[in-house]
């Protein structure tokens, strides 16, 4: 009998083996790992904590309860399906990044202390970056840079919060946070990963630029670990509840205007995560159950949507809705699974979104928050509208130039299995209810008024949408978001460095070079002292410029000239730090 092992390390250590394997063996290994990890977490029980004492604090790698288990289950289910979807990728680096990303997220979910949570949080940020960079295009490189800059800022805020929390409380155990200074830093750091408005800009910026298969992973882990940590640390916070409502509406309004298919889906992540955040913010047992159920369902249908649009991009190379169309004839499997996913995300009866959205709305009504109910119901109308738009313009609009084949078998299989899971939970929600964090909370999804209400909502929305179709035809355009301000601030910062600061640097450099040249000249030949004032006066009179001793100040700023020494400095600092850690642990 093998005893269970923290699932995060299965993936993080397992990633090291990927480059050693080849061909079919590697593919088998990639698919077997999530299955092993799944059986591993089934065997976990709350008394196994894998805790270590580290300089007076307790590091807990396996904090097992119902909340961490359900998130662990869905992460492994979707990990398996997404790996199946990407099994044809030959580049080892992408698989390694995906493994580290899954490992990091599982680490966050199961860690019982803030230190290891932070470490896994950063592993996630860095690993996910590579899923964007492997697209190897100029746009993805710059989007990746913006992505990691924002995540580093969020990580710093989280770390500051953790340090303040530890100083105040003397313990690093993850738990509900009381309002003090640490509270806001933690909320900011977690909120950035959860795509709080206006910190969400990294999400619709970077996710559409990822690789076809990488975006499927991206759509799952970062925001959902954020929701999980929010549910651990900030349940029942009023601000969080209304932030959820704002996110739900904001995301969907921007989604309606997008032309890039994956950017449309990315704004829907913001919107759907808004539902979960609202549920966490309401904080009653039913609301948290609803939020966690929505995490579970959302992961399934959102990954499926990214798979469907990914296979369209993979087969046709087109990523804009204006260039797609008429694909239903060529890609029946993709079309049907995409419709299933669209109905699931809209919350149509018989699909999984119906169950969890209903739970969240019910809990909001029970908690007497009328404004929030209206916001979320309105957002579900918008969701339905934008998926009519996506489905119509991607698969059914007329485009006679379009020719394509169906996606590779592994992609089709992954899409079919994920779609099956969406419908299965839609009809048999009992499977999901069994693993929810709070037990014995009565909720009946299939009441007549709920079903009739949702059908009415969609029917009238769809009808008035057809009247106003001209309004939503996709255009070749960008819609400015809050990232406009961040980008302008970034440009301002670069301008300050390049123009005034660089001018100052050049002045100092010139002054010191001239001084040094004069001194060295004196040292070489004291007799020539007299020549300097003569040369100085001569130059002033004849040319009207300053004597510079042969140095010019016109050299422009070359960023690469200064990058290498800084890089070398950081490299040596890391080596020194590793040596210190080694010495610390060995002796």
């Amino acid at each position: 009998m093998i005893s269970p092992f923290p699932p995060a390390f299965l993936f993080i250590l397992g990633a090291l083996l990927i480059p050693l394997l080849k061909g079919k063996l590697k593919q088998a290994y990639l698919l077997i790992m999530p299955a092993i990890a799944f059986f591993d977490i089934i065997k976990l029980s709350p008394d196994m904590s894998w805790s270590y004492s580290f300089s007076g604090y307790n590091l807990v790698f396996c904090n097992v309860d119902r909340l961490s288990l359900i998130i662990g289950y869905i992460f492994l289910i979707i990990g398996f399906l997404a790996i199946m979807y990407s099994i044809h990728v030959r580049e080892d680096g992408q698989h390694i990044a995906a493994f580290l990303y899954i490992g990091g997220s599982l680490g966050v979910v199961f860690s019982g202390d803030f230190f290891s949570l932070f470490a896994f949080w950063e592993i996630m940020a860095v690993a996910s970056l590579f899923l964007i960079l492997y697209q190897r295009k100029k746009e993805s490189l710059s989007a990746g840079l913006r992505y990691i800059l924002m995540h580093i800022a969020g990580g710093c805020s989280l770390l500051a919060g953790i340090i303040l929390y530890t100083i105040n409380k003397g313990s690093i155990a993850v738990g509900v946070i009381e309002p003090n200074a640490a509270y806001w830093f933690l909320l900011l750091g977690i909120g950035l990963n959860t795509a709080f408005i206006p910190l969400h800009t990294w999400l619709p910026d970077a996710y559409p630029e990822g690789t076809v298969t990488g975006s499927v992973f991206l759509s799952v882990f970062t925001t959902k670990t954020g929701v999980y940590v929010l549910a651990r640390c900030f349940p029942g916070v009023e601000f969080v509840a209304y932030m959820g409502g704002i996110m739900a509406l904001y995301g969907v309004i921007f989604a309606l205007l997008q032309n890039d298919a994956r950017r449309l889906l990315s704004y829907h992540i913001v919107s759907q995560v808004g539902y979960m955040v609202a549920g966490v913010g309401v904080g009653t047992a039913l609301a948290v159950n609803g939020a966690v159920a929505h995490v579970f369902n959302h992961i399934l249908y959102k990954a499926l949507l990214f798979m469907c649009i990914g296979s369209v991009i993979y087969m046709t190379g087109k990523r804009k809705l204006t260039e797609m169309g008429g694909l239903a004839r060529f890609m029946p499997v993709t079309t049907i699974t995409c419709i299933i996913a669209a109905l699931s995300i809209s919350g149509a009866p018989g699909f999984n979104g119906f169950i969890s959205k209903g739970m969240i709305l019910q809990s909001i009504v029970e908690a007497h928050r009328p404004v929030l109910e209206i916001m979320l119901t309105l957002a579900s109308i918008g969701t339905f509208l934008s998926f009519i738009k996506l489905g119509y313009f991607a698969f059914f609009s007329r485009n006679y130039d379009m020719k394509s084949k169906e996606a590779p078998v592994n992609m089709q299989l992954a899409m079919m299995l994920t779609a099956f899971a969406c419908v299965l939970i839609g009809f048999f929600p009992g499977i999901l209810f069994k693993v929810l964090p709070y037990q014995d909370i009565p909720y009946h999804p299939f009441t007549p008024s709920h079903i009739v209400g949702v059908i009415q909502l969609f029917m009238l929305a769809g009808a008035s949408f057809i009247l106003a179709k001209a309004m939503v035809v996709p255009h070749n355009a960008v819609i400015l978001d809050f990232d406009y301000f961040y980008r302008m601030a970034g440009r301002g910062l670069i301008w300050v460095c390049m123009v005034p600061l660089n001018a100052l640097r050049k002045k100092f450099q010139l002054f010191s070079s001239v001084t040094v040249s004069i001194i060295s000249r004196l040292a070489k030949n004291p007799v020539s002292t007299i020549e300097i004032p003569i040369a100085y006066v001569y130059q002033r009179i004849t040319k009207g410029t300053r004597y510079t001793g042969g140095y010019s100040s016109s050299d422009t700023f070359n960023e690469n000239l200064y990058r290498r020494p800084v890089g070398a400095g950081i490299f040596f600092a890391i080596i020194l730090f590793l040596a210190f850690v080694l010495v610390y642990f060995v002796f």
């Binding site: 029970e366 309105l378 109308i381 008024s449 949702v454 008035s464 355009a477 819609i479």
Partner: protein, 60 residues
């Protein structure tokens, strides 16, 4: 589709189990909400695109 059209008259016969807010008691309220909600979105998107919609190379 027929089922969808029928849902409005049906809406007059099903009662909301947890009628908490006043609008839960209006029969077929969701239909009204869905109709006007769409116009809210159309208005919001037109308003947003009037000032935030730029050419694709805006940031380059």
């Amino acid at each position: 589709m027929a089922l969808a059209v029928l849902s409005i008259p049906i809406g007059f016969f099903v009662e909301h189990e947890h009628a908490v807010f006043p609008w839960h008691r209006i029969p077929s309220f969701e239909a009204i909400f869905g109709f006007f909600g769409t116009f809210v979105f159309i208005f919001a998107t037109v308003l947003l695109s009037s000032f935030a919609q730029k050419k694709e190379d805006f940031y380059d």
